[in-house]
Symmetry: C2
Subunit: 341 residues, 2 copies
């Protein structure tokens, strides 16, 4: 599936806003952040490498443009959601002991976990400071205030989602509803926040802001289910993560929750035996992949992701929007549920 051109449109302008915020952070603390963002190497020297998709920023700016807003007014919000996303990545890597991301050592595996946590703290401050720039573009107080509340409610929700995701690793009784609640907090909340803030900064029309919130929520769920598929069947060179890492980490991702509910008899018994053990050995690892194959878990998961994608598109089609931004949003939505990375 071809990467939509719109994903190339905003990253450099968003990164420029983040960069101007980072001017206030002392080296070498700021080097952990610029390294993670893909701007520098571990010594703070500029590099040209993968910087991540800046997807949440793009969704925020597109929502603003789609509602006839000037996307420049939403740049502080786009920078804020991108900072929150990236601090959550640095922290996830610490929590999961993941040594690599995007084919590079993670921040903690260079600077150590204690120092990496200081980068996370700094980014919490920076994300909120980004939002306090909204007023510079003439955004009314009430919208600034709403954005700040929304961002911090989202941070709170993300912590709850991450708490659940990690506690699910030790449990076998996760049903689809608990799973959906978990990913709604862990992943969909920030995508929702990005699109809702973008629309809020583009229009005063409440029904459009509400529709973008629902668009974001459904797209966020679809995005995470696709992520779960890549976490098992994704190709390491494309995802930048080890093969089938979600199985090794005992993640209760959608394909596995589906398997636990669907598998019968011997397969079900085996699944439980494998996941009851402290770690999953190679034998069990391959057996899980076989069971998932036998019940068609990949195809079923993809159908589920596409169902949420279609619900997102219903919200999009229900609005009268700027045609260019609307078409970009449609293309991006299809891409996110078919992407290989």
């Amino acid at each position: 599936m071809k990467t939509p051109a719109v994903l190339d449109e905003y990253p450099s302008v968003v990164d420029a806003v983040i960069s101007s915020l980072l001017d206030h952070v002392q080296p070498p603390l700021c080097h952990m952040i610029t390294y993670h963002l893909g701007w520098t190497d571990r010594n703070g020297e500029p590099v040209n490498g993968s910087r991540g998709k800046r997807l949440r920023a793009t969704l925020c700016l597109l929502a603003c443009e789609a509602t006839e807003g000037d996307y420049h007014h939403a740049l502080p919000a786009a920078a804020a959601v991108e900072l929150v996303h990236n601090l959550s990545l640095i922290q996830d890597d610490i929590q999961d002991d993941d040594a690599e991301r995007r084919h590079r050592p993670t921040v903690w595996s260079i600077w150590g976990k204690p120092q990496a946590l200081n980068a996370v703290t700094a980014m919490h401050g920076l994300a909120n400071l980004a939002l306090s720039r909204l007023g510079e573009n003439g955004t009314p107080f009430s919208k600034q205030q709403y954005s700040q509340r929304l961002l911090n409610e989202t941070i709170l929700k993300m912590s709850e989602g991450q708490y659940c995701d990690m506690s699910f690793e030790k449990r076998l009784d996760i049903d689809v509803n608990s799973y959906l609640d978990m990913i709604e907090s862990k992943t969909a909340a920030l995508i929702t926040c990005s699109m809702e803030m973008g629309a809020l900064l583009g229009t005063d029309e409440g029904s459009y802001i509400e529709a973008f919130r629902e668009f974001g929520r459904n797209l966020g769920l679809a995005f995470q289910i696709r992520d779960d598929i890549l976490g098992i069947w994704g190709v390491s060179e494309q995802t930048g993560k080890p093969e089938a890492s979600d199985i090794a980490n005992k993640k209760k991702s959608y394909p596995l929750v589906y398997a636990m509910q669907t598998a019968k008899g011997k397969a079900k018994k085996e699944l439980i035996e494998i996941y009851e053990k402290e770690t999953i050995e190679e034998n069990g690892f391959n057996r899980v992949l076989n069971i998932l194959k036998s019940i068609g878990a990949q195809a079923h998961s993809q159908e589920m992701a596409e169902e949420y994608r279609d619900r997102a598109l219903v919200e999009l089609e229900g609005m009268t929007l700027s045609p260019q931004a609307s078409s970009n949003l449609r293309e991006l939505t299809y891409f996110l549920v078919g992407r290989e990375f």
Copy 2:
């Protein structure tokens, strides 16, 4: 030294505000926070134990009252600084591998470091959400905005201070100025923020807000130097920390920075040899205490703390304030530089 009565005045009303914020956080995530705050045991059951001094909240509310404000208007700010202080404690314990605080196991030593980090994230969200309640009391938007910016600049500064403090553990070349810069960010920034916000919410008089900022900065420096003294010579039953823990952790606290600059000949050489090793053995530990004694490091550190205390008091005496709050602030300032815990 007698604990000032004013320290009993505000904690319950501040905790009530924090508690109403915590109503929005799901169990069991919220149990980590209520446990840390001293409200509950590890199962979320209420306990009566040490809750900490709520010092930053008290300073914030006193600054508001001293400037003829209604302290109720500053309660959201008091809750915010207390949440930031407490999230920094949970994170410090993770970073320093400290298993005990206030005679209880630390959050991470019960729930594990990965889950404890989710409590820290939640508290970042909550601290900012606390501030968004300022408007409910009729605080003008410009003051809300100023407070939010100040709080997040403070979070950023704290991350820089903590970064320096930790990097100093591996260094021998720390001079007094670098040390003062470090504690100004690590500790004084939040005390400054607490008093500045309190004054801002109490008065429109810029010179008073500025004076409270300077008051807080000097008090914060004095407070940390006293903390450094307790970190070496404090009594474990009173501080709730292991005896001379700062030496065991190779902290470049003020007495040690002073010793590195002042010790001569054999003593200096020994100090360097001891601190160049990866860990400090019992022999070296006692030798450090002897060297500190021989150069009068404790008395000198106390003089330094009192110097900053007196600078703080100059700011206080320079203002015409509500007499009761002013006298409470004076008493508290003396106490903080003479306290044993």
